[in-house]
Subunit: 277 residues, 2 copies
């Protein structure tokens, strides 16, 4: 009786992303706040967001959030688990809802500024995230002296979705992206790198290794999935214990969502369903 | 006067694809039928089609064709320059229009059957194209004894769009895809490989080289862009000379479309514009 009351009152967290990548965020949130009811939407019918314009991404994000919240159930926090959508759709989403809406840019930026000693911070992400300058702005607001160096590394998304999270293809791609970039002596001063795309934590080991191979020293990697889970744990301490329900929705190709998503989240423990957008 | 009359009466070919990949088809068609007026639509707002369900792809294809033909101008042929859409949306498109609608599957299948001596034909393409079994069906209809071996190689799309059309990343990805597949002695009997995705002609050289490295002999590569251009030249012989107009449309992110599309087509010679879907 007490347990079921607690379950009814459990904090409810809604998370959306363009596809399976945000499941790395869902995973970190579920690990840190196992008592929360999680509801996740991957907008697989319209992925990727990263190559689309800011207007289109904002429209998609508003539609995705509306679909995820359409049953009118209480929500304690909405997480935009997609750097592209966080970089352009957050103001429109915050205007639409009266509960907290969290993007992944802010928590990542805060961690990076706290971690960097040289003040040179690297950001790798999709084309749209890098072009948006969202990390530059967020980091500049925290430390006006910090210098941000950003590099689009879009192929890493495909690598993570292929399950090639380490090995020769990932290594070759990272060398192709990072060697010419780090050849610039100013860029080479970075000591902290933000994984600016939710897919990237899946490739964390090889990313760290290739940076170290090229620079001859370790860099700190900032995983926004961890960062956002920590911020949520501070806001919703009741959820750090217990056993919440997990519902995962996708807008298309549920079989692929479950198969590829399984690389990032134990999908077999969740309720899975298709919804239309 | 005669020249302008000829231009007015020039055959008109409409081509659509989910993005920039179909520009390899536009390129082959423009080279073979320079006198035709070409109109191309890349549905960049909703790419890729290759990971989406057949129903969604069919809906998108009908909308893309309708947008491309919305001005009511005469059209002599509509080319579905996208293997994914060809594999599932062709019947619906043919029902909707009274002019010829050509997909890329048929021409590729005919070339492959004509070229193969062993009767073992390989197909590489997106997940959706491979799952659809469209090449198996088309090839079986031409030669019931032919054996088709298909392998999804989705990361090659990202490689082509990154401009990494050869070199270490493309080599590593091809080895990762092809070595385990060709280790099967039945699969290793293939002597002809269909490039079952319009992006792949951009990687033709490295694809041929890695097949040869693994098999210890050359395989024939079937480029459906060439195959479809030849079929169109037979249907529209008037267009094999002259100088037609080229119009390129995209549904989103026109700057990226022009930049990446420039790898596959001389976009600077064309009229470029954004259209809404």
């Amino acid at each position: 009786m007490l347990a079921s009351l607690r379950a009814m009152n459990a904090p409810r967290i809604a998370i959306f992303d363009s596809g399976v990548g945000g499941l790395t965020v869902a995973h970190a949130v579920h690990a840190k706040l196992p008592g929360a009811h999680l509801r996740y939407l991957g907008d697989t019918a319209r992925l990727p967001y990263g190559t689309k314009s800011a207007q289109t991404v904002t429209r998609y994000a508003l539609q995705a959030a509306a679909a995820l919240l359409s049953d009118g159930a209480r929500v304690d926090a909405l997480v935009v688990a997609c750097n592209t959508a966080s970089s352009c759709a957050l103001p429109a989403l915050k205007e639409s809802y009266d509960f907290p809406v969290l993007g992944v840019i802010g928590p990542g930026a805060r961690r990076a500024v706290a971690a960097s000693a040289t003040g040179h911070i690297g950001v790798i992400g999709t084309e749209r995230t890098v072009q948006s300058g969202a990390y530059e702005q967020a980091i500049a607001a925290l430390n006006a002296d910090a210098v941000v160096h950003a590099r689009a590394t879009p192929l890493l998304v495909g690598l993570a979705e292929e399950g090639w999270c380490d090995g020769p293809v990932a290594e070759a791609a990272l060398h192709a992206y990072l060697r010419p970039w780090l050849a610039d002596p100013t860029v080479a001063r970075i000591d902290t790198v933000v994984l600016g795309c939710t897919h990237y934590p899946a490739l964390k080991a090889v990313i760290g290794r290739v940076f170290a191979e090229i620079l001859g020293r370790e860099v700190g990697l900032v995983d926004s999935a961890d960062a956002i889970a920590e911020e949520l744990a501070l806001r919703l301490p009741d959820a750090t214990m217990g056993e919440g329900r997990v519902e995962l929705f996708a807008t298309d190709a549920l079989d692929r969502f479950a198969r590829v998503g399984g690389l990032f989240f134990p999908v077999d423990r969740a309720h899975l369903a298709l919804i239309d957008l």
